[in-house]
Amino acid sequence: MAAPPDPQFVLRGTQSAVHALHFCGGAQGREHQLLLSGSLSGLVHIWSLQTRRAIATLDGHGGQCVIWLQTLPQGPQLLSQGRDLKLCLWDLAEGRNAVVDSVGLESVGFCRGSVLARGQQRWMLAVPGRGSDEIQILEMPSKTSVCTLKPEADAKPGMPMCLELWQTDSSARPHLLAGYEDGSVALWDVSERKACSRIACHTEPVMGLDFDSQKARGVSGSAEKALAVWSLDEQQALQARGTHQLTNPGVSDVKIRPDRKLLATAGWDHRVRVFHWRTMKPLAVLAFHSAAVHCVAFAADGLLAAGSKDHRISVWSLYPPP
């Protein structure tokens, strides 16, 4: 059996814990690919994967932790969510780095937002809402509130912890998967504003989830010692597929590789775990970081990045897609 792999390279210099990672611009090849990282100190670093240096630093969150980064498909526009209750939209085209717009948030939690780009100009944004258990859906870029998803009165799932907007290729109905504080995962039909299905996957808050819309199968990780795999059947009902035990408790992020072959989890135990997504067979345990890993991200070409509390971002090339 091969020895555990080493990172391809390590990015240092954020000078604070890394809480968000996002790859962008991979379409033109590795040379133009960028890695964005958001740190506890409120800065967003833009790394060139060619030079492996930070090419720009964005400061828009007043020293508050950046917890979510997302680029939009139309043009080099970046969304960053900070704990200063602001969601900034940056224009990165032609070396610019200016905040073009910002959305005020009303939740102080750690819940990351989610984006669904429907057309060229209009896109949908899901963020935690004003009430502690609400989720707000916004129509962007007009910032009009489409609806507020509020659980039924007797459900009491607690705060939403992670969100995932998606829609199938065939239907235009957007759906939202939300992981809640009580460990349950719920599926919302956004247009009907109602929860289609809800299952209790964990006994601890759900920390991260990802969904493979082709296979209608998703995975969620929580503060406990197990990953839960669930799937969506024809009637839009969630069904538990099984759990996968981990050595140490605490998963802060889960991501499925864009080609749906691999699953990576960011562990509080300083390790990144890699699984075969279809079989959930463990493939590797990446023990490089010396503190909890907060986030993982996959690039379009299969590159894996992990950001940790130890201020470092490790970049790995595992089982590269052909």
Partner: protein, 825 residues
């Protein structure tokens, strides 16, 4: 007088006359041809009565005459060696016993290396090759007991068995390969089988026969120590022959029964060792042990209790043989009782060598495997009593090997003798010996026949099923592998994930004082464990802070108990204690040595103290230690200010040389160890003297000279180690003196482990104390020690003790050699 007899006599006398006087080849040939009539096998043989008379009375005389004529000239009377051929035919065709005796006699009488001697030797070789030895023995077997002539038989026996020796003496360097014992005795074995075949045939024919001569031959050969050669041939053949035939078995039994008592032991030992299994042995011996007292003594006493060199298969054959017949089983039970008694006797444990104890243990286990539950129940009390006594003595022993033997045998024996009780389970490491012993205890499958059948066909037959299973095994494995491979279309080979362990939260204290506090008061076990893990490093990094709390820390560590199951707890605690002791040697060593003789400590803690002291002393005396500690921050010995500037210019020069020099290959940079003073020098006394002082003052709970001999052994070893580590120190001489006194007081201790410690202590005295001082200050002690060492080297039952004593003696010798060259000039 009978006319037949007189006519024979006349003919022979004439012939002898002709032979001795005639020089005419034709005449001699015709005379010899005429005499050959009496040997039969010619066209017109003589009358049977004449033949018998010739063989009985005249044959030897004629042969002697023939021998006397042997010379190159005489043989040259006829061309092409016709005469020699004719001459030899008398020896090869006539009555074998007489021919053999005459040949041997002539060989012994013929002087020096000569033509005649070599001719005779070659003739004897031909005699052997022609299988005439079987005829010699057969002749003796066919004789009726009353007709046998004991003196002749005795003479024959001595010569048959002693042939290699006699020929070797006679021929010296000219000896022929046929007469080497390695070739002669196997041949003798073959011949014996042929004789036995003839005996069996004649018994089938209804005529009487005796095998006693063959028994005597085999017996004598075994007494001569040729068991392997002769039985190595005999046993496999007999094993095969007795398999299907009762007659053969009876002949075999008779063969062994007829062995004289004085040869019985040699024969039985050989048989037990060569027989391929209990079944074969049982067929060869029959109920011999019931018939012969001597055989019973050999089989049930001598081989089990007085010897211990036999292999395990031999032991299995022996005990299996006893178990095979209902009449012999009481003997097996009796043997088991006696074995258990020996096994449980404390004196045997103390004085018997380890190998013998192992042997007896194996025998016990084999007996237990053979005996049934009912038989064991009958004598249960007796066995249980021996077992209990044995367990106690063995677990008390300070030798791990003895303890382990005790554990294994007790586990097995208690489960057999006392099956209804809860099973006994000891903790011991599995190793080769324990596996072997446990395998012996498993009941044997009844038939060992495939291995013993001895026919060349069987091994092949036994091999084939092995191959089949092997081949059968492989395809079973393959589909499993391919199954799982089929499952995953994209071949993601997992990486090694063995490093994926539970994460310990980091609550490690940062200061030595915090550690002490965490270890004493903390109820948070994670913190407690983290403190224990961090302690060694902290102590090394902060020597000054450690010195402030060193004794307190040592106390805490000494009393530390493993409250949660921490992996490697003992090692962590020990390393931390050693670190503390090396950091502040004088005070901590003083504390530890005082605690060694204090009340209310467990043996474990006392032994920990000894270990820590020895390890700390080792660490302190390690050369090059100073360099490391000074790096860690403790100020090393002050170096004169003038040399402070030196390294810088040297570094500059070195750098310049390195830059300007081109090297083609570069070895690893060699750095000589810098000389440094032995740090142990200053503190050796704190380690040593308090320990050696109190050993003879028993406390209520701690009596070194009584039951706690294990600790005494450890103490002796530790003192030896401290002595050894104090080499080149100034206190070494007084330490050596004290240690020799200590050794002298305990030299006749009954426990082997203690004696080992004492012997190694003597060796370290010899190594550490300078030779001149030894001779000047301790001459009497040395002389006494020498006498004692010589005694131990010769007589001690323990292997290691003997070896250590020899090593110490060698050191003494070396010491003398070192001093002697000084004396003469």
């Amino acid at each position: 007088m009978d006319p037949v007899l007189s006519s024979v006599r006349l003919t022979v006398r004439e012939a002898v006359h002709t032979l001795s006087s005639s020089e005419d080849g034709g005449c001699i040939v015709s005379t010899l041809e005429s005499l050959k009539r009496y040997l039969g096998e010619t066209e017109n043989p003589a009358l049977p009565a004449e033949q018998e008379e010739f063989a009985r009375v005249h044959f030897s005389a004629l042969l002697r005459c023939l021998v006397s004529k042997l010379s190159p000239d005489w043989l040259g009377l006829l061309p092409d060696g016709q005469l020699e051929e004719l001459w030899a035919s008398f020896f090869l065709e006539g009555p074998a016993d007489q021919a053999f005796l005459v040949l041997m006699e002539a060989l012994e009488d013929t002087p020096g290396p000569s033509f005649r001697l070599m001719k005779m030797a070659r003739l004897l070789a031909r005699f052997l090759k022609a299988g005439r030895m079987a005829a010699v023995m057969e002749g003796q077997c066919r004789q009726q007991a009353e007709l046998a002539f004991p003196l002749l038989q005795e003479a024959l026996l001595v010569r048959v068995v002693g042939l290699p020796d006699r020929l070797g003496n006679r021929l010296q360097h000219e000896n022929l390969a046929e007469f080497f014992p390695q070739r002669y005795f196997p041949l003798l074995g073959e011949e014996a089988v042929r004789v036995l075949q003839a005996v069996v045939d004649s018994l089938r024919g209804g005529s009487d026969c005796s095998v006693s001569f063959v028994s005597q031959v085999v017996g004598k050969a075994c007494v001569y120590g040729r068991q392997k050669e002769i039985l190595g041939v005999l046993v496999p053949r007999l094993t095969a022959l007795t398999q299907g035939s009762c007659l053969w078995q009876r002949v075999c039994w008779r063969l062994v029964e007829c062995v004289p008592d004085r040869a019985m032991e040699a024969v039985l030992t050989g048989l037990v060792e060569t027989a391929p299994g209990p079944h074969a042995l049982s067929r060869l011996l029959g109920n011999l042990v019931l018939k012969s007292k001597k055989a019973r003594f050999v089989m049930t006493q001598k081989l089990l209790f007085l010897q211990y060199r036999h292999t395990t298969p031999a032991l299995q054959s022996l005990l299996g043989y006893l178990a095979m017949d209902s009449q012999r089983r009481p003997l097996l039970l009796q043997a088991l009782k006696e074995l258990m008694e020996t096994w449980g006797s404390s004196s045997a444990i103390r004085h018997a060598p380890l190998d013998q104890q192992r042997y007896v243990s194996k025998a016990v286990l084999i007996c237990l495997a053979h005996l049934g539950d009912a038989e064991l129940q009958d004598s249960r009390d007796e066995l249980l009593a021996s077992l209990m006594a044995g367990v106690k003595c063995r677990l008390d022993s300070s030798l791990p090997a003895v303890r382990r033997l005790g554990m294994i045998v007790t586990e097995v024996a208690s489960s057999r003798i006392h099956p209804e009780g809860p099973p006994l389970k000891f903790q011991y490491e599995e190793d080769e010996l324990s596996c072997e012993l446990l395998a012996l205890a498993a009941p044997q499958p009844a038939a060992d026949s495939p291995s013993e059948a001895g026919s060349p066909v069987t091994p092949v037959a036994a091999e084939t099923p092995d191959k089949q299973t092997e081949e059968g095994g492989v395809p079973q494995v393959r589909p499993q592998g391919s199954d799982s491979e089929l499952d995953s279309d994209d071949e993601f080979v997992p990486y090694d994930m063995s490093g994926d362990r539970e994460l310990k939260s980091g609550k490690a204290p940062m200061y030595v004082r915090d550690c002490v506090e965490a270890l004493t008061t903390s109820e948070d076990w994670e913190r407690w464990e983290a403190a224990l893990r961090a302690l060694e490093g902290l102590v090394f990094r902060n020597p000054a802070a450690t010195r402030e709390v060193s004794v307190e820390l040592a106390q805490v560590l000494l009393h530390l108990e493993e409250k949660t199951s921490v992996v490697g707890f003992e090692g962590l605690r020990q390393r931390a204690l050693v670190a503390v002791t090396t950091t502040d040697p004088a005070r901590v060593a003083e504390y530890l040595t005082s605690q060694f003789y204090a009340v209310n400590y467990s043996l474990r803690q006392r032994m920990d103290i000894l270990d820590v002291l020895a390890l700390a002393a080792q660490e302190l005396s390690r050369p090059g230690r100073l360099g490391r500690t000074s790096q860690c921050g403790s100020p090393g010995p002050t170096c004169p200010p003038s040399c402070a500037g030196a390294p810088t210019w040297r570094a500059v020069v070195d750098e310049r040389i390195r830059r300007k020099t081109r090297r083609f290959s570069k070895g690893s940079p060699r750095k000589g160890l810098a000389g440094s003073p032995n740090e142990f020098n200053a503190v050796a006394g704190y380690f040593f003297f308090p320990l050696i002082q109190g050993f003879d003052r028993p406390l209520v709970t701690f009596d070194l000279l009584g039951d706690d001999q294990l600790v005494l052994g450890r103490l002796a070893h530790t003192l030896g180690a401290l002595m050894y580590l104090a080499v080149n120190t100034t206190v070494a001489v007084s330490m050596g003196k004290a240690l020799l006194e200590f050794v002298w007081a305990l030299r006749f201790h009954g426990d082997a482990y203690v004696r080992r410690g004492l012997l190694s202590a003597v060796s370290s005295v010899l190594l550490s104390v300078p030779a001149e001082r030894l001779l000047e200050d301790l001459p009497d002690e040395l002389l006494e020690a020498r006498a004692w060492l010589a005694d131990v080297a010769e007589k001690d039952p323990d292997d290691d003790c003997r070896m250590l004593a020899v090593k110490a003696l060698l050191l003494l010798e070396k010491l003398r050699d070192k001093l002697l060259p000084l004396a003469p000039p």
